[in-house]
């Protein structure tokens, strides 16, 4: 590539300079195109697991030196990314394995990383495919948060909640609610909540109360959204119960379980084909008297309830 230089001019007069700049831009664009194509076709390798060689948060804190907060942020980003990408992935062998380690590392590096605790509380407990379904991991995380920030009654409440909703241990739940209510600044309704839990543990009304409280007091968008969703799920469960009763009534009158919505509507037991709170129709299982939430619904899957639903067949 020889360059003839004019006697008093520099190499590449202005126009040539523009051409070169353009060439550089084109090459960078090409690089980005290749990268985008690759990112779209292939899943990213979970290279993070090497970082987890340092499984001990304490060791990492020492290594992190002055950059604890930054590293904590980094692990938080990874946690969210991991959760998000796993959730939308198709492959069946995708697991949420790294969610707890990331959150654990983030909170070890920054024990006051509130949002990480809350996130873990919600999403670690979610059953597959919405989460790893590991309430014990969530509890471990939250206990760490309690230790770091004893004034955060929310974490105590969250632990109680997990015991209530996922582990179905109502006595433990009520105990945690009571402990939470004793923290300075805790809201007035925690104590009655403890009592209600003991009395009505496992019943939908109690659950509704709990979620209602979360919905109203949440300081956080997605926490609130989650609570709202749960409430709608409870509504759907109520609706399904109602439909079950209608099917039973149909059977009482005709001697058979209904086979189509039309049958129920004609007979006047149901005014129209019902939609769930998010607008998707319920599914009538022909000939069984059972109703289900459509798998297309945003509320799918409905949570397992502590006690069996009243049996429509009885």
């Amino acid at each position: 590539m020889p360059t003839e230089k004019a006697p008093s001019a520099r190499v590449s007069p202005p126009l040539g300079g523009l051409g070169l700049a353009l060439a550089i831009a084109v090459l960078l664009g090409g690089a980005l195109a290749a990268q985008t194509a690759r990112d779209n076709r292939y899943a990213a390798w979970e290279t993070e697991s090497e970082l987890l060689y340092v499984q001990s948060g304490a060791a990492l804190t020492r290594l992190g030196l002055a950059f604890d907060d930054l590293l904590a942020d980094l692990y938080w980003i990874r946690a969210v990314q991991h959760y998000g990408s796993t959730k939308i992935a198709d492959e069946a062998d995708r697991t949420y394995d790294l969610l707890y380690p990331f959150l654990d590392l983030a909170t070890t590096l920054d024990p006051r990383f509130k949002i990480a605790y809350r996130f873990g509380a919600i999403f670690l407990t979610e059953a597959y495919p919405d989460g790893p379904g590991r309430p014990e991991q969530a509890i471990a995380l939250l206990e760490k948060g309690v230790e770091a920030m004893p004034e955060r009654w929310q974490y105590l409440m969250d632990i109680g909640f997990i015991h209530y909703w996922w582990v179905h241990d109502y006595e433990a739940a009520a105990e945690w609610f009571r402990t939470a209510s004793e923290v300075d600044g805790a809201p007035w309704w925690l104590e009655p909540l403890a009592a209600t839990t003991l009395a009505q543990g496992g019943q939908r009304g109690g659950s509704r109360l709990l979620w209602q409280q979360l919905f109203e007091t949440s300081d956080n968008e997605w926490l609130q959204a989650e609570a709202g969703r749960r409430l709608l799920q409870l509504d759907a469960l109520d609706a399904l119960d109602q439909l079950g009763l209608a099917a039973q009534a149909y059977r009482d009158r005709t001697g058979d379980w209904p086979r189509t919505w039309a049958q129920l509507i004609d007979i006047g037991l149901v005014p129209f084909e019902p939609l769930d709170p998010t607008g998707t129709g319920y599914i009538l299982v022909p000939g069984t008297g059972e109703f289900e939430l459509s798998s297309d619904s945003l509320l799918f899957p409905l949570p397992s309830e502590p006690e069996a639903l009243p049996d429509p067949a009885s």
Binding site: A6, P7, S8, R10, V11
Partner: protein, 327 residues
């Protein structure tokens, strides 16, 4: 066609923290060197000699002006086939041997392998590097590096050779060797352009000299013309009365008291007779009458003094409005 030609060659460097001010390192340099000449480019340190050389080799780019070598633009690649360059205090590559370095450079010129070998062997012999040629350049002394530098400058049998302070840091033997080398090059018909601040060395070898001070070419001329100028006579007299000192001394170029009762007058060549008569008439005795020949040093010092005088008179930033007249 001149071997080297510049026309109003100027170089400004941005200086200062925000790079707003400029320092004019070379100001409107115009000179011309004919083929076969040895041109001594002289000046105090910081005058811009190295800047000029780098402009000629396009290691730096001119702000304005023209630089040509052998009729071609100074930076063009084909010209570089025909020139050689020895930088000031050369440094090459630690991990190569002298031989490997020269072979590498020879490859860049495109010589065939056998030809390369021959050239390199011959050159190393010529500059006096024997078995050390297979040692790493890391081990070479300054003088030996200088010799390697000369060798690499001559790999391609250049028509024009540029030497930047070729004798700096050498002992008298080394200096003599370089001097003889330059004379050899001249005998071979090559053009030599070298810069120096050591005047004594330059005096004996260059056919033309130019003096650069603070970026400006203050004088340029054929050395034999300069040296042919008889400076005049030095008239040493004794017992010159004070009246006569004033009267006669004011007419002389210079009057100095060299001892108690003794004065030296510098007079123009044609006036020596008159001054002798005047002194004798005033009652002084003539002690000696010596001819004075111009040396390059005088030339140089006077040019510097003139320049510094000009600079004092001109505005405070380093811009000049017009090139000073050459003497």
């Amino acid at each position: 066609m001149p071997a080297i030609r510049t026309e109003a060659l100027t170089k400004e460097f941005p200086v200062g923290f925000w790079r707003k001010r400029v320092h004019r390192a070379l100001d409107q340099l115009t000179l011309s060197v004919e083929p076969g000449e040895v041109f001594g480019f002289l000046g105090p340190n910081g005058a811009g000699k190295t800047t000029t050389l780098k402009l000629l080799l396009q290691l730096i780019f001119p702000t304005s002006g023209v630089a040509e070598i052998l009729g071609r633009p100074a930076g063009s690649v084909d010209v570089r086939h025909r020139i050689g360059y020895l930088p000031e205090t050369p440094y090459f590559y630690d991990n190569l041997t002298a031989e490997e370095l020269l072979l590498y450079f020879a490859k860049l010129f495109g010589y065939a392998p056998a030809d390369r070998r021959r050239r390199v062997d011959r050159l190393l012999d010529e500059v006096g590097i024997g078995s050390e040629r297979r040692q790493m350049l890391r081990r070479f002394s300054k003088g030996m590096l200088q010799r390697v530098g000369v060798a690499q400058a001559l790999v391609n049998d250049p028509e024009v050779v540029f030497l930047d302070e070729p004798m700096s840091g050498l002992d008298p033997i080394g200096r003599r060797q370089i001097r003889e080398l330059i004379l050899d090059l001249r005998r071979q018909g090559r053009t030599v352009f070298f810069s120096s601040h050591i005047l004594a060395d330059a005096e004996s070898i260059c056919s033309q000299a130019g003096v650069l001070v603070a970026g400006r070419l203050v004088s340029v001329g054929r050395l034999d013309e300069i040296l042919a100028v008889e400076r005049g006579w030095e008239l040493v007299v004794a017992d010159l009365s004070e009246v006569a000192q004033r009267a006669i001394g004011s007419r002389a170029r210079r009057i100095t008291q060299i001892a108690l009762g003794r004065h030296a007058l510098e007079v123009a060549p044609t006036e020596s007779d008159q001054f002798v008569r005047d002194c004798i008439e005033s009652g002084a005795h003539v002690v000696a009458l010596n001819p004075l020949h111009a040396t390059l040093e005088d030339f140089f010092l006077r040019a510097v003094q003139d320049e510094r005088g000009n600079e004092g008179a001109s505005s405070d930033d380093s811009r000049a409005t017009e090139p000073p007249p050459t003497s």
